[in-house]
C-alpha cells in the first residue's frame, strides 16, 4: 500500500494553510475589510508629528473597502491635516472598524 499521497498532502498542508491565510488577510494578520491589527499611530520625531504610516493605513483601508477617490492624494491630504493639528481620531476609527462600520467614524 502506498502512502505517498497522504504523506505529500500532510506535508503540503502547512503551506496550504499559510497560503490561505495570506490570501484572505490584509497582510497584517487581519481579515480583509476588517479592522487592521496593530494600526499605526502618529509618531513624534524631532518635534514634528509624523502621520505617514497612519495615513497610509487609513487610505489603504478606504481603497480595500471600495472607496475610490481621484484628483487628490489621500495620504498627502491626510498628512497635511493631521500634521497641522487636526484630530487623528476619525482616521484611527476607520482603521479600527470593518468596512460596514466606517460610516460611523465621525465628521
Amino acid at each position: 500500500m502506498t502512502l505517498k499521497g497522504p504523506r505529500l498532502l500532510a506535508r503540503l498542508a502547512p503551506l496550504l494553510v499559510l497560503c490561505a491565510l495570506a490570501a484572505c488577510t490584509d497582510g497584517d494578520g487581519s481579515l480583509d475589510g476588517g479592522p487592521d491589527a496593530g494600526a499605526p499611530d502618529c509618531v513624534r520625531a524631532g518635534g514634528q508629528l509624523d502621520c505617514s504610516e497612519m495615513c497610509s493605513s487609513y487610505c489603504a483601508k478606504l481603497v480595500r473597502c471600495g472607496v475610490q477617490s481621484g484628483g487628490s492624494s489621500c495620504t498627502e491630504d491626510c498628512r497635511t491635516l493631521t500634521e497641522a493639528g487636526a484630530s487623528t481620531e476619525s482616521y484611527q476609527c476607520v482603521i479600527d472598524k470593518t468596512c460596514s462600520e466606517i460610516s460611523n467614524c465621525g465628521i
Binding site: 500532510a10 499611530d41 498627502e76 497635511t80 466606517i102 460610516s103
Partner: protein
C-alpha cells in the same frame, strides 16, 4: 426622479438648514454676525482680511442613499476646522437663498456662471460646491473649489463608492479632507486658527502659527497600541514554530533520503530516517491544529 426645478427648490430650503449648521458649528463667528436687518456684511470685509468662502449645499441625486443635510454637515464641519478663511455667515446665505429663489422664478440654470453669481452676491472670494450622483448603483461625488474673482476652478476632487451609505459617508469625509488640505496648503494656515494677515495692520500681531499641534491635541492623541490579542499571538507563535519545524524535518529527511540511500528505511530496518518521518508527521499535525487555532483567534479578534 425629480426634475431640475425640484432639485433647485430643495437647494433653496437647504440653504437655511446649512445656515443653521454653520451657526451651530461656529459659535464664535455667530457673534461677528450683525443682527437681523442690519446693513449688508460688506462693511465687515475690510475689518476681516481673511478670504471669504461660501459653502454651497450639496446637489444630491435622490437615488443616492445619503440625506443632503448629512452631506452638508460633513462639509461644513470640515470647513469650520480652519480659521484662516471666513465661512460665509447666515445673512449672506439668506441673501443667496433669496437670490436663488429669484433665479428659480426666472428659470435661470445652475451652471458655473450661476454659482459665480451666487458667490459674488455673497461677496465671497471662493466657493465650494459639491454634487452627489448615481451611476448604476455607484455613487459619484465631486467637490469643486472655485475662485469667484477669476472663475478658475482651483481644486476639483472626485471619487466613487459603492452605493451603500456605509461607504458614501467615508468618501464624503475624504473629499472634504482633500478640500480642507488644499485650503491649508494654499493659505498656509494651521487647523487651529488664522495665520497672521499679510496686510499691514495696526493691531498686535496674532500668535505665531508655527506649532503644528496644540497641547490639548497632544494630550488627546491616541497612544500606540498592542497589535494583536495574546491568544492570536500564542496561536501565531505555535503555527510559525510548528511550520518551521515541519519544514526543517521535511528538508532534512529529503536530503538524507536522496543523498544517503543506505539509510533509507525498510520494514525490517526502519533506521534513523524513520525518526524524521515521525517528527515531521507530528510537526505537520501541530501545524494543522495551530493553524486552525490561529484562524479561530483571528476571527474572534476581528469580531
Amino acid at each position: 426622479m425629480r426634475d431640475r426645478q425640484d432639485l433647485l427648490r430643495d437647494l433653496q430650503l437647504r440653504h437655511l438648514t446649512l445656515a443653521a449648521l454653520l451657526l451651530a458649528s461656529l459659535p464664535a463667528r455667530a457673534q461677528e454676525t450683525p443682527p437681523a436687518g442690519a446693513a449688508p456684511s460688506s462693511t465687515e470685509t475690510p475689518a476681516d482680511p481673511r478670504p471669504r468662502v461660501l459653502v454651497l449645499p450639496y446637489r444630491v441625486d435622490p437615488r443616492v442613499p445619503v440625506e443632503p443635510a448629512t452631506a452638508d454637515a460633513i462639509l461644513v464641519a470640515r470647513m469650520s476646522k480652519v480659521g484662516s478663511f471666513k465661512i460665509i455667515s447666515e445673512q449672506e446665505l439668506a441673501r443667496v437663498a433669496g437670490y436663488h429663489a429669484q433665479q428659480m422664478q426666472l428659470g435661470v440654470s445652475e451652471d458655473v456662471e450661476g454659482l459665480l453669481q451666487l458667490g459674488r452676491m455673497a461677496q465671497a472670494d471662493r466657493l465650494v460646491s459639491g454634487t452627489l450622483g448615481d451611476v448604476g448603483g455607484t455613487t459619484a461625488a465631486t467637490l469643486v473649489f472655485i475662485n469667484v474673482h477669476t472663475a478658475e476652478v482651483e481644486k476639483r476632487v472626485s471619487g466613487t463608492a459603492k452605493g451603500e451609505r456605509d461607504l458614501i459617508l467615508p468618501l464624503l469625509n475624504q473629499q472634504a479632507d482633500a478640500m480642507l488640505a488644499h485650503m491649508i496648503r494654499t493659505y498656509g494656515a494651521t487647523a487651529e486658527g488664522p495665520k497672521p494677515a499679510p496686510q499691514a495692520s495696526a493691531a498686535p500681531a496674532p500668535a505665531p502659527t508655527a506649532a503644528p499641534v496644540s497641547d490639548e491635541k497632544k494630550a488627546t492623541a491616541p497612544k500606540a497600541r498592542v497589535g494583536v490579542s495574546p491568544f492570536v499571538a500564542l496561536a501565531s507563535s505555535a503555527f510559525t514554530g510548528g511550520l518551521g519545524f515541519a519544514l526543517s524535518t521535511f528538508i532534512a529527511g529529503a536530503l538524507i533520503y536522496w543523498f544517503a540511500p543506505g539509510l533509507r528505511p525498510t520494514v525490517e530496518q526502519p533506521g534513523p530516517l524513520a525518526v524524521f518521518g515521525i517528527a515531521g508527521g507530528v510537526a505537520t499535525l501541530a501545524v494543522l491544529i495551530s493553524g486552525v487555532a490561529l484562524l479561530a483567534a483571528l476571527i474572534i479578534d476581528n469580531a
